[in-house]
Amino acid sequence: MDDLIAAIRIKGMRDGLLVSLPEGGWDEQSAVLLAQIDAQQAFFEGARLALDVGSQVIKVNEMVELRDRLSERHVSLWAVISESPATEQTTQLLGLATRVSKPRPEEQQSIDAGPISQETALYVNRTLRSGTRVEFPGSVVVLGDVNPGAELVVQGSAIIWGRLRGAVHAGSAGDAEAVVCALEIAPMRLQIAGEILQSPAGNPEGRPGMALIRDGSIVLEEWQPAGTGQA
């Protein structure tokens, strides 16, 4: 279940949140989505949700049930995006939208300016392996490594209690205050806001470090325990 929760992709858009569900049966998917919402009530409260269900066929009563259970949680389902014509018909039958506009960068920033990225973090309790992509409109804490071939795209900061060897983009909506911390920083690609780390060689000793933007470019700093070095 935890794996599936992490497989849910949540994107901030002009019109609300776009949620992509992991592969699996509908019962499991909707249970996972509701569990995720229950776990982060403050984040989802009052949200407008668009659901991307891929090619899955969803019956009218299933969609109605999900809509009702979402509204119990003060989340409104306004669109269901599907590749299946049958599901699209169902969606239209319920008076929901079947298309959403692509998120535009300036709109993403407006979400980022809100309290979400400051207050809410997604906790990922596993190693992100090759082929995994985690996107989140806030900060993310990973308990595990980020392996080569994995991608972490967050609008806030990325805190990795493990080795960073994959790709990470913090402040993906333009927040230049975002930072990337890891016990060992040897990324394939490291971006903060619009900046890319020029020589992603990492800290060779494999000591804990932090990447941040200073004077318009990304610098890597070794982490100093409080009281022994800089503040």
Partner: protein, 265 residues
């Protein structure tokens, strides 16, 4: 008895899945354990060639699934080892001829009469791979000490974790101690460091493997082959024996690490 179903998978092709399945199966059968191998690579079968049984195939797994024969009829007995059987893949069909539930059903039918069922997964992470891991109790991920193979193994392990196939173990195949020493190859330790799962076997590079595969006599039958010894050790570990990893080189700290990974002290 009820058989343990083990699938060997890798993501990347050519790392030695089929060779490993054939050799582990042969090593188990030599010890008198009842083993069935299933070739999961529908359309590109070759486990039959490595085992030297290609000219005995009458029915294959798709014939079983589509009801043209009984399961017993598709099981080919090995030439030398009476405890070893092969269920070959169909060569003229593709992966869509088999579904994950077909694999589960076939394995359930085989379980009561055998000790181990080894499934050779096709390369990739698509349908054929899903079929192969569906019935698995354990999955062994085969990799080479190469960056690309390790990356693919990592992806496969990620999928296994998402599917809640617990406890995958690693077989590192074709390790060349000389290249490792010269820092021209990833060491077993580097591979473990990245993948972070227990290791069940480390197989040295050995030219006799290719020759014996072509002859259809797996190296596990050759008492002098180092690769054969490594596969025999995997078979012993599968049966619950504690076998130290072969001293293929002094890489300092590796063996401590291996022992930690395998949970031995």
């Amino acid at each position: 008895m009820t058989a343990q179903v083990i699938t060997l998978s890798s993501g990347k092709g050519g790392v030695g899945k089929t060779t490993a399945v054939a050799n582990i199966a042969v090593a188990l059968a030599t010890e008198g354990v009842k083993v069935v191998c299933i070739d999961g690579d529908i359309g590109l079968r070759n486990l039959d060639v490595v085992l030297g049984l290609e000219n005995r195939i009458v029915y294959d797994i798709v014939d079983v699934i589509e009801g043209r024969c009984k399961l017993r009829q598709a099981m080919i007995r090995d030439k030398h080892l009476p405890e070893l059987h092969l269920i070959p893949a169909a060569q003229t069909r593709d992966k869509t001829a088999v579904s994950p539930s077909d694999m589960v059903r076939i394995c359930n039918e085989l379980r009561p009469d055998h000790d181990f069922i080894l499934i050779d997964s096709p390369a990739g992470i698509e349908r054929g791979f899903r079929n192969a891991i569906a019935p698995a109790d354990r999955v062994f991920v085969v990799t080479n000490p190469e960056v690309s193979a390790v990356r693919d193994a990592d992806r496969v392990i990620g999928i296994l974790e998402a599917e809640e196939k617990r406890g995958p173990a690693l077989i590192i195949n074709r390790v060349n101690p000389i290249l490792v020493k010269q820092n021209d190859m990833l060491s077993a330790e580097d591979v473990l460091d990245l993948l972070g799962i227990p290791v069940i076997g480390i197989v040295p590079e050995d030219q006799t493997v290719i020759v014996s595969s072509n002859h259809g006599t797996p190296v596990a039958l050759d008492p002098r082959s180092r690769a054969g010894q490594a596969f025999r050790n995997i078979a012993k570990r599968l049966r619950g024996q504690e076998v130290p990893f072969m001293g293929m080189e002094k890489q300092g700290g590796l063996w401590d690490r291996l022992q930690k990974m395998t949970g031995r002290r």
